[in-house]
């Protein structure tokens, strides 16, 4: 496997070649409406998954410190060009788009398989994903890629130090940060706090418009869309009942007393 061969190269080279996985998601402020068995896509604003911005930023920082190539990749249809161009404008070197209508019904596992297949064709030292996507909120793809490629996973990182072939990462866990050490190649998933993503400069935006995007599809990866069928079938989408008919009072000594009484009654 290429991953293994790459390990040999790593010992002599300082460069860190990085692949960042990007997902296009509805803006987190958007009103999401159910339409039939899916959500209404029309009229939604789409953005690069916020956690993936941390991934891109971290990759660019690593490149500045160690050298190497940063490639971004997205799978799905349509509109992936937007998020790839955003990353190109931020300064990544290459963009790959696995565009295939057959991905429409794929679940996270299917997407992970497709990404793993594409990624294993190029040499890399590090894969960066978001901790989770803000739509599916699965937090699945990063772990699945590590599993499928047989390399270590460190999830929800807020700190990262790479030295040569090894790295130390701070994972966000309940109540604090856990320090984990492992070696490259590996998959890391980005948590908020890892860095402050840069805004693309105008020159970057202009350059990104002209940069070439490399397209792949399922046949070119040797994957049959039927293999991607979701093992979990959707039964329904519903709105949660979060509207509460609350009592709202103006502050005065009487209402605060009542409020305190309410708190006392529930705890």
């Amino acid at each position: 496997m290429i991953v293994r061969r790459r390990r040999g190269i790593l010992r002599t080279s300082k460069n860190v070649d990085i692949i960042v996985c990007l997902k296009r998601v509805p803006d987190t402020g958007a009103r999401v409406e159910i339409e039939g068995t899916g959500v209404r896509e029309e009229g939604l604003d789409w953005v690069l998954n916020p956690y993936d911005e941390f991934g891109v930023e971290e990759a660019l920082k690593i490149k500045a410190a160690h050298g190497g190539k940063v490639t971004v990749i997205t799978a799905g249809a349509p509109g992936g060009e937007d998020v790839l161009r955003k990353a190109l404008a931020m300064g990544v070197d290459e963009a790959v788009y696995i565009k295939d209508a057959g991905l429409k019904g794929a679940d996270d596992h299917g997407v992970s398989r497709v990404l793993a297949k594409a990624i294993s064709r190029t040499p890399f030292d590090l894969i960066l994903c978001g901790k989770q996507s803000t739509d599916a909120q699965a937090g699945y793809v990063g772990g699945a890629l590590a599993g499928l490629l047989g390399i270590p996973l460190v999830s929800a990182i807020r700190e990262l130090k790479i030295s040569g072939k090894s790295f130390e990462a701070g994972r966000e866990v309940e109540g604090g940060v856990e320090t984990v050490e492992a070696t490259l190649p590996a998959v890391l998933t980005a948590e908020k706090g890892l860095n402050e993503p840069r805004y693309p400069a105008l020159a970057g935006i202009m350059r990104a418009k002209k940069q070439e995007i490399k397209y792949l599809d399922l046949p070119s990866l040797g994957i049959n869309p039927e293999e991607l069928e979701n093992p979990l079938k959707r039964v329904s989408l519903t709105y949660p009942s979060i509207e509460r008919k609350g009592k709202v009072l103006n502050a005065d000594s009487g209402s605060i007393k009542e409020f305190a009484g309410f708190i006392k009654s529930i705890i």
Binding site: Y51, A138, E172, E174, K233, E243
Partner: protein, 327 residues
């Protein structure tokens, strides 16, 4: 079989394990399958007693390499243990551990994974799982396409009631973890605590502050109130971005999803990204000087006023009424 993976902190099982067992029971009973607990650790036997009445069978997965959580050791041990067993469902707590491990087990055991599960039902022998998507704006219900297929169910903390005691004790058996230290690549070096003794996802009461709190010092008042109620302090992103509180206590889409018994939002407007993290709370209360603040739409009770004036009076009232801390 319905399996539940215990969550251990250091070497001790955490309370979410009881919630996972509660969720597991919702499957085991209607499906008429045994409920089995996997208890990993370097000395799991010492904790087995806690769970005797909660599961039909308790499997001790004992190995010194499992004394603290590291995903490759846990994945190796659980995979080796389950790979030749029937798995209709494996319930894992949706903590930082479960979220790290679940997808790895999904690949190694070749079974699908369902995250953020808040509802479980069995209908005509099919497992129906309801989960939060789009920041909790929508609930998606799924079922296994293969009617007998297995599934890993990652549950939201506090979404399920803790398992009640059964009538008889379960049996306890030991299993070998069969780990080889050489094969392990993840080394856990240390842990730095950032929040107080209580983590947000475990706190029964959260007093949360936003931009309206105005300063880092302003949070002292919230801390005092939280301590009085036996809870801890949370924050909106604005308060975190202003540097008043650390990101570990941010509630919302890019922070923690919390489900305390009581969530008290102070000077928080109630942006969708904030609501994404707290609408699963049992009771939501709000203090805001703007009567039209969206937070009031999701609150059970609200006070319109300046939090700097309201909270001190509230603290006095609570003290006067001898409020007992939430256990």
């Amino acid at each position: 079989m319905i399996w539940v993976l215990a969550e251990c902190k250091g070497n001790e099982p955490k309370a979410v394990t009881l919630e996972a067992l509660g969720a597991g029971r919702l499957l085991a009973e209607p499906l008429n399958l045994p409920l089995c607990l996997i208890l990993p650790g370097s000395n799991p036997a010492s904790f087995a007693r806690t769970f005797l009445r909660k599961a039909d069978k308790i499997h001790l997965l004992e190995d010194p390499l499992l004394s603290t959580y590291a995903n490759d050791a846990y994945k190796g041990a659980v995979t080796a243990f389950l790979k030749d067993k029937a798995v209709r469902a494996l319930v894992v707590p949706g903590t930082s551990t479960g979220k790290d491990l679940g997808p790895l087990l999904s690949v190694s055991l070749r079974i699908p994974y369902s995250q953020n599960t808040v509802g479980i039902k069995v209908k005509e022998g099919d497992i129906h799982l309801s989960r939060r998507v789009y920041g909790g704006k929508i609930i998606e219900t799924v079922t296994t396409a293969d009617a007998k297929g297995g599934v890993i169910v990652s549950i939201m903390p506090r979404a399920f009631a803790e398992a009640a005691d059964g009538k008889t004790d379960g049996t306890v058996v030991s299993a070998a973890a069969g780990l080889n230290e050489e094969a392990l690549r993840i080394k856990v070096r240390g842990f730095v605590r950032e929040t107080g003794q209580m983590d947000l996802t475990e706190a029964p009461v959260i007093v949360s502050g936003g931009r309206g709190v105005g300063s880092a010092e302003g949070f002292r008042l919230l801390e005092e109130l939280a301590a009085l109620l036996g809870g801890t302090v949370g924050a909106s992103r604005s308060a975190v971005d202003a540097g008043w509180m650390p990101h570990t206590v941010q509630v919302g889409q890019t922070g923690r999803t919390v489900t305390p018994k009581l969530y008290l939002a102070c000077g928080i407007s109630g942006a969708p990204q904030h609501l994404a993290g707290m609408t699963g709370s049992k009771y939501v209360l709000a203090i805001n000087r703007d009567p039209d603040a969206p937070i009031f739409k999701v609150a059970d009770y609200g006070i319109v006023g300046d939090l700097h004036k309201v909270i001190p009076v509230l603290i006095e009232e609570l003290k006067a009424s001898g409020v007992a801390k939430v256990s």
